[in-house]
Amino acid sequence: MQIKEIQEEIVDEFSMFDDWMQRYEYMIDLGKSLPLINDTYKTEDNIIKGCQSKVWVHAELEEDKLVFTADSDAIITKGIIAILIRAFSNQKPQDIIDADTDFIDEIGLKEHLSPTRANGLVSMIKQLKLYAVAYQTQLN
């Protein structure tokens, strides 16, 4: 599936929830089901540091696609990175670079979007895209 399609799927899923409570419960479930990053990748290099919680992201190229794994010490943050990984993992680096992220606005997670929150969605997206740029350069 293409990134756009997956994003639409996520938006559809979130639109089923009437209130924040269900949305958060869903995110917590997503966080709990996130395939964990291999502990050896939980390094300083892979960390997105914030004031509030820590997020580790690791990227690996499998054939021509980029596979992300991640973890966080906070479960809601883990849920957020799980959503992003679902949208961007197993995709070609160039597609990740080109992808827009408007779907975030549509799933009602705006409060996590603040660019000043270093562990917020914005930094996570930036990090995923940075990996994509790095691997794209390698591919070229």
Partner: protein, 404 residues
């Protein structure tokens, strides 16, 4: 005794909703809310006498100057400083500490020692680290125990004739501990060291008497005591303020300027370069009037009740642990629930309209001490109610249920 229903009417913000729920504001240690009486003073300033001070010959400037200097006197009276020129207007506690830390660069030598308590927030650590780097002085830490109380016996052992300066908060922002500053000041003076007490967290709860404490420097921020942000004060004993060089150069702090040499203005202007936060200073005075109108004894008594009740109710939650259990503490409760991350709890509490702080509270060494990523911190003010404590407890229970 405090009439909390009546007091709450003074704070328009307490009527608003957050995420569709009535706001329960429990982040008072970060910043307190502002009563209408103080807001009116701010509006009055901009509507009626906004002008630059100390230099203008016109009426508005004179009016603004008078009110600004009256505010300084109010601060002097409140903190019982000997002279009003020992009160320096600053942008807040961080600025106040930096003025002193910067000033000591000319007074310290390599090998001199400066002592800091283990429960400081970053503003009372980093400026001194910078000072130590510049001068070659050695920074030593006064340790604390698991309850979050300073080990005074170790402090006394650390003091020596090499100790030049001791700095410590009056009340810890992350733990709520009220430190025995009288003892800390006396012992430091016996060793011949100067003392700076960071009063940012204490000033909203207790009235500190500069002369009785015989402290050398004391700091406070208006925004934690019902005033606006961006203004605070540094108290310094006259003899010390005269010894310290100015922090910033510019207008207001000069006596005479030629291209060959500049002489500095007398206190307090020596430390007040540039146009200050005039409105903020005046509103700081109004905030003190407001709090004194309620009375600090009544505030302390009521906040203690809130603390006791909240502690008792929160501890009923299984797996909840409070960090900072000093015998003498103020209305701050820092806690975690076993297996849960403070960020998750805080995020859900926010959705329920409850404003608490989560994270390391800009006091990372404390979190390292307890080996935790941070805490959830509920900090109470005199305008909070017992039923808000119940709301907090119910919300924590709900968050726990969702997260486990």
């Amino acid at each position: 005794m405090i009439d909390v229903t009546k007091i709450r009417q003074d704070f328009p913000i307490l009527n608003r909703e957050v995420n569709g729920k009535p706001l329960v504001y429990l982040d008072n240690a970060a910043t307190s809310q502002t009563p209408q009486q103080v807001i009116d003073v701010i509006v009055d300033y901009y509507q009626n006498y906004n002008a630059n001070i100390h230099r203008g010959v016109h009426a508005l400037s004179q009016e603004a100057t008078d009110k600004y200097e009256v505010a300084r006197q109010k601060i002097q009276e409140h903190f019982n400083a000997k002279n009003s020129y020992e009160i320096i207007f600053t942008s807040g506690t961080t600025h106040s500490i930096n003025i002193v830390a910067n000033g000591f660069t000319t007074l310290l030598e390599k090998g001199d020692e400066i002592l800091v308590s283990a429960m400081e927030h970053h503003s009372n650590i980093v400026p001194w680290q910078m000072l130590a780097e510049k001068t070659g002085a050695v920074l030593k830490v006064i340790p604390m125990n698991l309850e979050g109380e300073l080990k005074i016996d170790v402090y006394e052992e650390l003091l020596s004739d090499r100790t030049k300066l001791v700095f410590c908060n009056h009340i810890s922002n992350a733990l709520g501990t009220i430190n025995p500053i009288e003892q800390i000041i006396d012992k430091a003076h016996e060793a011949g060291a100067a003392v700076l007490i960071d009063g940012a967290q204490a000033a909203p709860h207790v009235k500190a008497d500069m002369q009785k404490l015989d402290v050398d420097f004391y700091t406070a921020s208006a925004h934690k005591m019902c005033g606006p942000t961006g203004v605070g004060m540094l108290f310094g004993k006259e003899e010390w303020l005269n010894k310290l060089p100015p922090y910033q150069g510019g207008g207001e702090m000069i006596a005479e300027v030629t291209f060959e040499k500049t002489t500095y203005a007398d206190l307090p202007h020596k430390f007040e370069a540039g146009t200050p936060n005039i409105c903020g200073g005046i509103a700081f005075g109004a905030a003190l009037d407001y709090m004194n109108g309620i009375g600090f004894d009544a505030i302390a008594e009521y906040e203690h009740q809130l603390l006791e009740y909240a502690t008792q109710e929160l501890l009923k939650i299984e797996g909840l642990k409070i960090y900072g259990t000093a015998k003498n503490k103020t209305s701050v409760i820092s806690f975690n629930i076993e297996g849960l991350h403070p960020y998750d709890i805080g995020s859900i509490l926010d959705k329920l309209g409850i404003a608490v702080r989560t994270g390391h509270h800009c006091a990372q060494p404390i979190m390292d001490f307890y080996k935790i990523p941070g805490t959830v911190r509920a900090s109470f003010s005199f305008y909070n109610t017992m039923s808000e404590v119940d709301d907090l407890v119910a919300a924590v229970v709900r968050a726990k249920g969702m997260l486990e």
